[in-house]
């Protein structure tokens, strides 16, 4: 087994879709939280194949998309500073800030480097003791263990020219915010498999109970997603609201305890803004006081940043399921992956970009499972 291709088998997917259709005695509305799942659903056309039985609303689980504008602007400010090497995951480079993006800062002479792992940023700091190396620590609970370890190691190794610009968010508070938002239509969730691989799923049990919604921890391959949907639909049909685990091969109830422990060591809960949504209480992480020396915001005294979100971008409505991306007036015209107006158009995990790519692709060939 390679754990990838097997779960893309169309001869299994199509009967599964039929089974979902037969199980649903009425149309149900589910949300997949994770951008990786959105990508698979839109790309494989699963949403269209399920049309009439299950509507999938694409949730806010793409870190590129929800990192708030002021954090992007802070990144831009840092990257432009002489003596700073600004490091980031590659997909943050084209996220639009108030007036430019990291790629443009680099073109103007800013030192911006893409790293694969935050440990690479730390190694860069060790190799360049005369420079300040800043790492853009963004993401959900999946990147938090890596970012926490980089800070932990920096302290352990006494690396003082390394710091992180933190913009970490967590999934459960977002589910709560969506369930409490006026006009919410979501009746059940596919929880993000890899977030739960780290954190486990005990945090989701009170949510399922309080909002009377099924939550199914789900993987990322087409068959995983279809099975997750089937499990959620079955629960809705039975009137159950449980946390179930579809992604058994990678997720255990307690998650991965050493990773959780390291996150706890380095980070603490904090209020965070989500781009397009606004502030969600206790929905993110910040460095603990004992790691203040590694906090780029404090180290460089960043402040006084005023942000300017394009009024035309309807990311908030897309993220909460009130608007499908193609219905945004700017979609595909003033907003494209080459010239994104909003963050949702940047990463392939963003809902707007996912729709854009598939719309282009379908100009030439019809949609299909496992295309």
């Amino acid at each position: 087994m390679k754990y990838l291709t097997e779960y893309r088998d169309a001869s299994i997917a199509l009967p599964l879709i039929e089974r979902i259709r037969k199980t649903a005695t009425r149309p149900w509305t589910l949300m997949e939280v994770c951008g990786g799942q959105t990508h698979t659903i839109v790309r494989q056309g699963l949403d269209e194949l399920l049309d009439g039985a299950v509507e999938m609303i694409h949730g806010p689980g793409c870190p590129v998309c929800v990192t708030p504008l002021e954090q992007i602007d802070k990144a831009l400010q840092l990257a432009a500073r002489p003596g700073v090497i600004f490091t980031s995951f590659g997909d943050m480079l084209r996220v639009p800030g108030s007036d430019c993006d990291l790629q443009q800062v680099r073109a103007r002479g800013g030192q911006v480097r893409i790293v694969y792992s935050p440990l690479d940023a730390l190694a860069l700091a060790q190799r360049n003791p005369e420079s300040e190396v800043v790492f853009f620590a963004v993401g959900f609970e999946t990147t938090a263990p890596a970012n926490a370890m980089a800070v932990w190691r920096a302290r352990e190794l006494g690396v003082t020219n390394f710091s992180v610009l933190v913009s970490h968010v967590t999934v459960p508070p977002a589910i709560r915010a969506i369930m409490q938002s006026p006009g919410n239509r979501v009746q059940g969730f596919l929880a993000a498999g890899h977030v739960c691989a780290v954190m486990g799923w005990s945090e989701y049990e009170p949510l399922a109970e309080q909002y009377k919604i099924p939550i199914v921890v789900t993987g990322f391959e087409p068959l995983d997603i279809l099975e997750g949907i089937l499990m959620a639909v079955q629960q809705l049909e039975d009137g159950r609201n449980e946390v179930e685990n579809q992604y058994v091969r990678s997720v255990r109830r307690e998650g991965t305890p050493p990773a959780r422990a390291r996150i706890e060591d380095v980070f603490e809960l904090a209020d965070r803004k989500w781009r397009g949504i606004g502030e969600i209480p206790m929905s993110g992480l910040r460095l603990r006081e004992e790691f203040a020396a590694f906090d780029a915001e404090r180290k460089f005294g960043l402040g006084g940043i005023t942000v300017n979100e394009p009024a035309e971008c309807r990311a908030g409505d897309v993220l909460t399921g009130r608007l499908k991306p193609p219905l945004c007036a700017a979609f595909g015209t003033r907003c494209t992956p080459e010239h994104p107006l909003g963050a949702l158009m940047v990463s392939s995990e963003g809902a707007c970009a996912a729709y854009y790519h598939i719309a282009k692709h379908r100009g030439a060939a019809p949609a299909g499972v496992m295309a």
Binding site: L4, R19, P145, E156, F220, R249, R262
Partner: protein, 103 residues
């Protein structure tokens, strides 16, 4: 950044107290931090890797089981359809279907 990928651990070593290793992703090899899974992972095991860190071990038995359940499910549905289309009995015993799965 958020795409975690399964890969096979083909080398394990220590880098200044940090458990590291090499993971093979279908031919592409990368250095990966194994600190969070070192207590349960050995050479040849599969792990899910995110931004250079293994965040969980893939359970091979469960992977196989999930796949088999889905495959069985799809077979049954196919048999049901055939029955609906006429000609075949609608209740084919599970064991018969399982026996065919090697084909």
């Amino acid at each position: 950044m958020c795409l975690g990928i399964p890969g096979k651990v083909i080398e394990i070593h220590d880098e200044g107290g940090l458990p590291m290793g090499v993971v093979d992703f279908g031919g592409v090899r990368r250095s990966v931090c194994l600190a969070y899974v070192s207590h349960e992972v050995g050479l040849g095991d599969y792990v899910i890797v995110h931004v250079g860190f293994a965040i969980s071990k893939v359970d091979e038995i469960e992977a196989q089981r999930t796949f088999e359940v889905l495959r069985e499910m799809s077979k049954h549905d196919e048999l049901d359809w055939m029955a609906e289309l006429g000609g075949m009995p609608s209740s084919v015993p599970t064991t018969a279907a399982a026996g065919d799965s090697a084909s």
